[in-house]
Symmetry: C4
Subunit: 317 residues, 4 copies
């Protein structure tokens, strides 16, 4: 295998380096994997309409995440058990993100404690994925739980009785911003806004949960419209190229999160591998902005018809 | 081959265990098998739109069939000559259904008499598929005919002159509820309602009859709309996963019937195999209800836009 | 290879029996063969909506062709050089048609003279495909030209200056009905009607001429609508099953013509092979009428929504 | 390999004759090559609707390019480094075009100087592709730069600050007509017209730049409509057959440009190979005009519904 030069190249390397169990665990999706395929395929169902002859000698790829500025709109999604991919584990991933100014989202099912990650990457943008447990006391105390064995733990104790009012409870016990993940319809986005969340991640849990839900990029437009600027909207699922990032951003996402590609980078070469993956997406995103004739994320989001569904073509003559 | 963990896994086992003749007879469809493929493929053309943060700690999967309650909306469709699949034959299938509280539909072309099935599964929900014979006297007497050789018998004597008024005759000679199978259009569903049937099975005879008719799940919405609650609507054809069940139910079916998967389970391990197939569908259905945020079949059927055709996406920006 | 039981089965036999040259000549289409594939594929893009519980004990498959009754709506299309397929040549094909009461269309590029065919099949329905030659005198005299070598002849002398007014000339010199072939749009059909033709064959010359034109079954509806009953409409191209025949007839064709399948039958077993091909289509057509709940061609053509494009499904919920 | 008889046949020959580097450089497209595939595939998504019984004994295939008449509407697109394909390089390509009366567009990244090409093909139609450099002085002087090494040169010095007003500057320093390439949307076409360009090439740079933009033939209609006759519209990308040419012309292009097919012809047999490629397209275009019943490019462009998107079919019954 030759050196990886695009994000998808890392996948073959990872398959070679990982144990079969780890590979199967990471790459699989729910049931018949229809949504797993669709998350990637859906991006290809949108067409780009560039503006030529704009001065793109200066391009600003930065975006903002809950008020913080990030140098490019790609962060690391929460993925479980990073030490299965590489001994460096979550610390390697978090340091890669930190070194590029990107954000890192820790999984509830982490193989590293939140304290260790915090110590390794001081001052960087970090998110904590929080499953709500049957005992609310336990949810409060999750920031002190050791990572090992957390999976069984979570399976037993995650609360299926969770309700919208619990969001209000969560906001009442913490001053941290609360972002709701796994939102895939306008109806739920509207409800999230009514419950004062600070952000929404348009996500289908990496297509690992309910097969048959829409691809995230397909769901994004109705959610952006429903939210109407009242909180930040993010997206994960299927992002593999700089034009994927650009499509999501032009359609209203403040940033995208990447999961499996980060794991492939981690398996390939630990922190350096993850850095490569993020850098490739950053550079491809900048290049695609230039080719689109856009100088800023704001320009991308305010442009008219920069991204259209393929059904826009062929035009009726 | 590893142990089957989803319904489709049973197919490969069945192919190995059955004689070539039995396999060919069971798995084939009409002409070019376009509808055979489409029955399954069509389910994948609908997208699920989950409601998150509903309390789903208590989920009730039960539905009702002609007034009787069943614990989950999956019953066994009539399939011919079950003893070709396993020596246990129709009794094994019926007992599997009975043990789970599910219903069993006996084929006109059965290798077991209706009396033997009744004796083996007292008190359980049973249906009798009835071909109408040229001699109405013979149709009346079909509940005493021995199963063996019934196929040739049926071919010779089934009545191509059957008409809507014969439904009225049938209702006049029996107090049993009459359910019309092989309804695939709104027009016919309306006519069935006018002729006072108690239920309709949206079906294309397992795609074994007229190639080119719509997939059953594609036909379901127009039929549910035409029936407008005046009788129960059921569906068979192409159901292989719990989300398939959920889609059919959310689109208005009281229950679905499965045919070939039951035969594969029967071939795999007799009564136990059939029980496995039904249990998998039951468990997958319950899980998908939870992931959809629905606590009851009523909730599934009253929710707005829980299931949409794929043409809903990508939304025009 | 086992005995052919459907029309497509004859193709593999023919490929084995024919010289490579003959096979290539018969099976090929224009340029990239997009239309060749589409002629068959398009039929599968229509869905059947059967009427159940009609008395179909008596089914009348007959149709009419320019006033003559034929027992089933399938005739033989003009195909060139039949002796390449089998020594029996056009006579074998014509006799097969004649023995079943079907019609035979002789090609301009025939390997048998029109007189010999007439002598071999007295009293049967026959058509003569007529290319118009540069010398109108020659067109008049074509019924005395010997078949051999007619291809080079035709290539050199066929008239590219042909115009609509020539149709009027043709009608002025003969009392025979004139049917226009290779009509594929409503605009041309309307013009044909204005020029008093007796019939139209919706055709793209077996997809051997201009690649990229519509499949014939796709073009049929607009032509039937434009003609509005003022002349007979026929169709060739892509017919391989009885449901194909039924779709074309239900959409307004008085009869369909089959070309390549007849050649495959001819190659397989001369007159008997052709008879088999026609009989299979006849029997499949009758069976599909019964399954559609239709007792006559008139019933097929007057039924509402018996055939719909696949875009009819999935219905918006 | 047998002698090439259609344009696509040259590709396999070229692959055999070229070094791997040259082949990879010429045949590749941007990122995942979605647009590369789509440029060709999109042509097949349009259907032709011929007019029969028009006198096509005399067909005029000529078109006009910026006021000059060309005998058929196919010219050579700018492609880089022609000497990699054949020692004859740009001179061989230009002479092939010249000998058939077609036009030749020189690449900025040429392996032959513009003076040498001019000397080799006096009096023929020639275009010069111009990248605008950071130093406007350098852009002025580009007609004296030697071809060798121009690629590195261009990469370093091409100006990303280029703006619409630079078009006006360009027009102010030269009396030559200015044609804008890489226009793929109506918005940009309108802007080009406002900036007084003499022509537009609907192009996505051979799908080598921004993956995900529309196929050129899909973009053509909106651009022709936006331009509304105020300047010439041309197209490159995906043209491989005479019916592709016809579709582009019928949809409003004055001419099409072919790039890779010319390189394959060049690799196959230098000037003669390129002549073969152009001649095949010319002859196929003439033949398809005849089969469409059109006698002139004007006729093609004024005809109603000669070319329609495939979504025109199947018509709703």
């Amino acid at each position: 295998m030759s050196q990886p030069i695009c994000v998808n190249d890392f996948e073959a390397w990872a398959k070679n380096k990982l144990t079969k169990n780890a590979w199967d665990y990471y790459c699989g999706g729910a049931t018949e994997e229809q949504t797993l395929q669709d998350n990637c395929a859906a991006f290809k169902r949108y067409r780009l309409r560039p503006y030529v002859l704009n001065d793109v000698s200066q391009v600003d790829t930065s975006s903002s995440v809950l008020g913080d500025t990030i140098p490019f709109p790609v962060c690391i999604a929460s993925t479980a058990l990073n030490k299965l991919a590489h001994e460096g584990g979550e610390i390697a991933s978090a340091k890669a993100a930190s070194s590029l100014g990107s954000g890192f989202m820790q999984s509830t099912v982490s193989t590293t404690s939140i304290e260790d990650i915090a110590e390794a990457t001081p001052g960087s943008l970090k998110w904590m994925q929080l499953y709500i447990f049957k005992s609310q006391k336990m949810s409060k105390g999750i920031q002190g739980v050791d990572g090992s064995g957390i999976k069984d733990f979570a399976t037993k104790y995650i609360d299926p009785a969770l309700q919208w009012k619990d969001i209000l409870w969560l906001k009442s016990i913490s001053k941290l911003p609360v972002v709701l993940k796994e939102i895939i319809t306008a109806e739920m986005a509207q409800k999230a806004v009514e419950h004062k969340v600070d952000g929404i991640v348009v996500s289908n849990h990496g297509a690992r949960q309910l097969d048959g839900v829409p691809a995230t990029i397909d769901a994004l437009p109705e959610i952006v419209k429903a939210v109407n600027g009242k909180c930040d909207v993010f997206l994960d699922g299927g992002v593999r190229t700089g034009t994927d990032v650009l499509k999501a951003v032009a359609m209203g996402a403040k940033a995208v999160f990447v999961g499996r590609p980060v794991l492939w980078g981690l398996a390939y070469d630990g922190e350096n591998g993850v850095k490569s993956v993020l850098s490739i997406l950053r550079d491809e995103f900048r290049m695609s902005m230039q080719l689109m004739g856009c100088r800023s994320v704001k320009g991308l989001q305010e442009g008219k018809n920069l991204v259209v569904p393929q059904t826009f073509y062929p035009s009726n003559l």
